[in-house]
């Protein structure tokens, strides 16, 4: 095994009261902020660009470049909004990070706000993780008490307030413009772009929207240098990230590693497939990224390599399914999700996801009709690239990729319900205790 883990954000999650400011400061916390405030804001933007840090929320857009898109200050407010609405199926990295060590995010937000001349920053956290919300509010409270937030931070003359805002249950609010509408107290529906948030974001003011992990990575870049960060990972996908293994592996969990690590390496660290079963399919970055199979075990998990194989690195949410799982059942359930979460704003997604759902329901029941597979592909073709935001695109990913790799299972679904070939419950977490394997 060549690649090793690089615990940075996850380094002290096992510490006693790991979430407190005290623990964070014992692990070099807020040293980067002092360095940043003593320097020039423009240098911070440059360092972010130079580090090669790319958005950790899925799209992989260069973070420093996003900051650089803001127009020059005009005297009016500019905002930083952290997207903590982690809801992409399979994605479970920001939640443990914010629960175990929320100060990484707070320090990163202060540095970023200083870099972009923002004086009021927001964390939009999904409302369904209430203990994380408690920890974030507490982290902000501690940071105020220590003088890291508020007026004249550490004597620098820089002022910043942070508001932690809880959502109310809507996957679409992970889309950055829908998130902004939601934060403005509206239905969370995506906006037409352009204008991009950098020009007209929150309250139509210049706004940077970044993922939790992106912002949490900023202090390490400031403290150790852009070169240090860029020295990890691959040529165009620099740095480290949390890889979340879930499903049929022996030891599911969070593994922080340089980008470019492979599933084979990660599986070895995680003790291999559960019960020694065979890997059937997996998602590299959540359900919106086209599925991979056991043929992709050695694909470096970086933005370029995963894209070259026809999928997306996404959020590094590696959902692992073994040979006992029906791909038709899996895809149908994901499609239920997209139909449920489609915001209804644009026609291809609103109508298309419901058509897809209906077809997949009858395929699950073994009552497919001739032409159904082609119809699925055709509907996907009419959603992909034609919907308002990426939700519609994401809805097509599992379907088209599953048909590509497992067409025979969809053909079987013309006459055979999935349960007959893949009895449910054969590899649940509790299969051993509650029923025969």
């Amino acid at each position: 095994m060549s690649t090793q883990l690089t615990p940075i954000l996850s380094e002290f999650w096992d510490a006693e009261r790991s979430w407190t400011l005290e623990t964070y400061e014992q692990h070099d916390g807020y040293r980067a902020l002092r360095t940043a405030l003593a320097g020039d804001a423009a240098d911070l933007v440059a360092a972010a660009k130079e580090s090669g840090l790319r958005g950790r929320g899925g799209a992989g857009f260069p973070t420093g470049m996003k900051w650089g898109f803001l127009p020059p200050p005009d005297g009016g407010p500019r905002y930083l909004v952290v997207n903590a609405d982690e809801s992409e199926p399979g994605t479970c990295k920001d939640t443990p990070l914010m629960m175990a060590a929320p100060q990484f995010l707070i320090e990163g937000m202060i540095i970023t706000s200083f870099a972009i001349d923002c004086h009021h920053a927001f964390i939009y956290v999904r409302g369904e993780i209430v203990h994380v919300y408690r920890r974030l509010m507490r982290a902000v409270e501690e940071a105020y008490a220590a003088g890291y937030l508020g007026k004249d931070i550490l004597g620098s003359g820089f002022d910043l307030d942070i508001t932690v805002h809880a959502g109310a249950g809507a996957y679409i609010c992970g889309e950055e413009t829908a998130l902004l509408d939601s934060l403005e107290g509206r239905r969370g529906q995506p906006r037409l772009k352009p204008p991009f948030p950098a020009v007209a974001g929150l309250y139509a003011r210049p706004t940077v929207v970044n993922n939790v992990e992106s912002i949490a990575s900023v202090p390490s870049i400031v403290m150790h240098g852009a070169d240090w960060f860029a020295g990890m990972g691959t040529e165009k996908s620099q740095g480290y990230g949390l890889f979340s293994l879930s499903g049929h592996v022996e030891r599911p969990g969070q593994y922080e590693a340089p980008l470019g690590i492979t599933l084979r390496e990660l599986l070895e660290m995680a003790g291999g497939m559960r019960g020694g079963k065979k890997l059937k399919f997996w998602t590299p970055g959540g359900s919106s990224t086209p599925i991979f199979t056991d043929a992709h075990l050695d694909v470096p998990l970086d933005f370029e390599s995963v894209a070259a194989e026809g999928s997306m690195l996404g959020t590094r949410a590696l959902q692992i399914f073994d040979e006992t799982v029906s791909v038709v059942r899996a895809v149908s359930r994901w499609t239920d999700f997209y139909a449920h979460e489609s915001c209804g704003k644009c026609t291809p997604c609103r109508e298309g996801t419901f058509w897809l759902k209906q077809i997949l329901e009858r395929l699950e029941a073994g009552r497919g009709r001739p032409g159904d597979i082609e119809k699925l592909d055709d509907i996907c073709d009419n959603i992909l690239g034609r919907s308002f935001c990426a939700l519609g695109d994401g809805a097509t990913s599992p379907i088209t990729s599953a048909i590509q790799y497992f067409r025979e299972e969809f053909e079987e679904a013309m006459h055979t319900p999935w349960q007959e070939t893949f009895p449910a419950g054969r590899n649940t977490l509790f299969a051993k205790e509650s029923q025969p394997a």
Binding site: L5, D43, A46, A59, F61, A170, G253, R333, F430
Partner: protein, 315 residues
């Protein structure tokens, strides 16, 4: 005012229409079974008692003060309404509208968009079983079916004693602990049908239950709603920092002696760009854009464009 009445009427019609749609869109929901009786949003017409109203208005003003524009307070205010009424009531909608200078239609439009806002009285505890693909395969489907049978209620229905509302929930960002059950949005990891049924029995018996990753006890729906409105309940320091799965990489690295690379000298200021007086350390990395390294660079749209081109990134 007749205009207001017209709006109200239209709203209730829209509500009914959208309720029907919401029902059809629920994954796995069977339309054959008994439908939960949905109380319309305007059901609660009786005004708030004076002291309750005074507290709501005072809290509401605190919420509003957190935001540069007051409409942003709407989501937390709706959580606040639920913390008093147990769901989004008509009087709650009117209160939000008054506090934020919105129409009741605007408030209802928002309240009906988000799944955490309940449109009929909610149980004291929402038991949400994740039935998105991964959890479903790992046992979530079986858990939901068995718990549903055990309680005698389906999705979005409440036990007669008012204790438990059962829900299928979407991915709750805890996939490494699948199958996951949420009780009032606290994590119950690695569940089995037996453990979840026992959990519901304890909740119905009024016994305290402790989440896997959360405070020492699960709060009621109303109490949690108040937290979601942004009023801390003092429980942040309870519970673990991380669960077993979250720690696997951290502990494996310790065991193997793996650490992240450290800058050469170990004295951080030397290696950071900010530590370089009057200039910047030149990156050794091939794809670093030299122009962006200028210490006096201020982000302008022109400068950014240059970076964009030299970086060659598409998005």
């Amino acid at each position: 005012m007749s205009g207001t009445h017209e709006r109200e009427d239209m709203r209730s019609q829209l509500d009914e229409a959208s309720e029907r749609r919401v029902h059809h869109s629920v994954p796995g929901h069977s339309d054959d079974g008994p439908l939960h009786h949905h109380t319309p949003l305007h059901a609660s017409e009786e005004p708030y008692p004076e002291d309750v109203l005074a507290q709501l208005v005072a809290d509401g003003e605190q919420v509003i003060a957190r935001y540069p524009q007051k409409r942003s307070a709407l989501l937390p205010l709706l959580h606040l309404v639920q913390s008093v009424d147990g769901y989004v009531t008509g009087r709650g909608v009117r209160l939000c509208a008054e506090l934020l200078d919105l129409t009741t239609a605007e408030v209802s439009g928002v309240a009906t968009f988000y799944t955490q806002y309940k449109r009929h009285p909610n149980g004291e505890y929402t038991v949400g079983v994740c039935t998105n693909t991964l959890c479903a395969v790992m046992g979530g489907d079986q858990i939901f079916d068995e718990v549903s049978e055990h309680l005698g209620i389906g999705h979005d229905e409440t036990t007669e004693d008012g204790r438990i509302t059962l829900e299928r929930v979407e991915c709750n960002a805890a996939c490494d602990y699948a199958p996951v059950v949420m009780v009032n949005w606290e994590f119950f990891d690695d569940q089995t049908p037996e453990s979840t049924k026992e959990l519901t029995d304890r909740l119905r018996a009024g016994e305290p239950v402790t989440p896997t990753r959360g405070p020492s006890r699960v709060c009621t729906f109303k109490q949690v709603s108040r937290v979601l409105a942004g009023f801390p309940d003092g429980l942040a320091d309870e519970g673990p920092g991380a669960g077993t799965a979250s720690l696997r990489g951290t502990l494996l690295a310790k065991e193997k002696g793996w650490t992240a690379p450290r800058p050469d000298s170990g004295t951080d200021t030397e290696a950071t760009p900010e530590g370089q007086a009057g200039g910047r350390a030149q990156g050794q990395y091939g794809s670093v854009d030299a122009d962006a390294n200028e210490p006096d660079e201020v982000p302008t749209s022109e400068g950014v464009k240059d970076v964009d081109e030299t970086k060659g990134d598409e998005r």
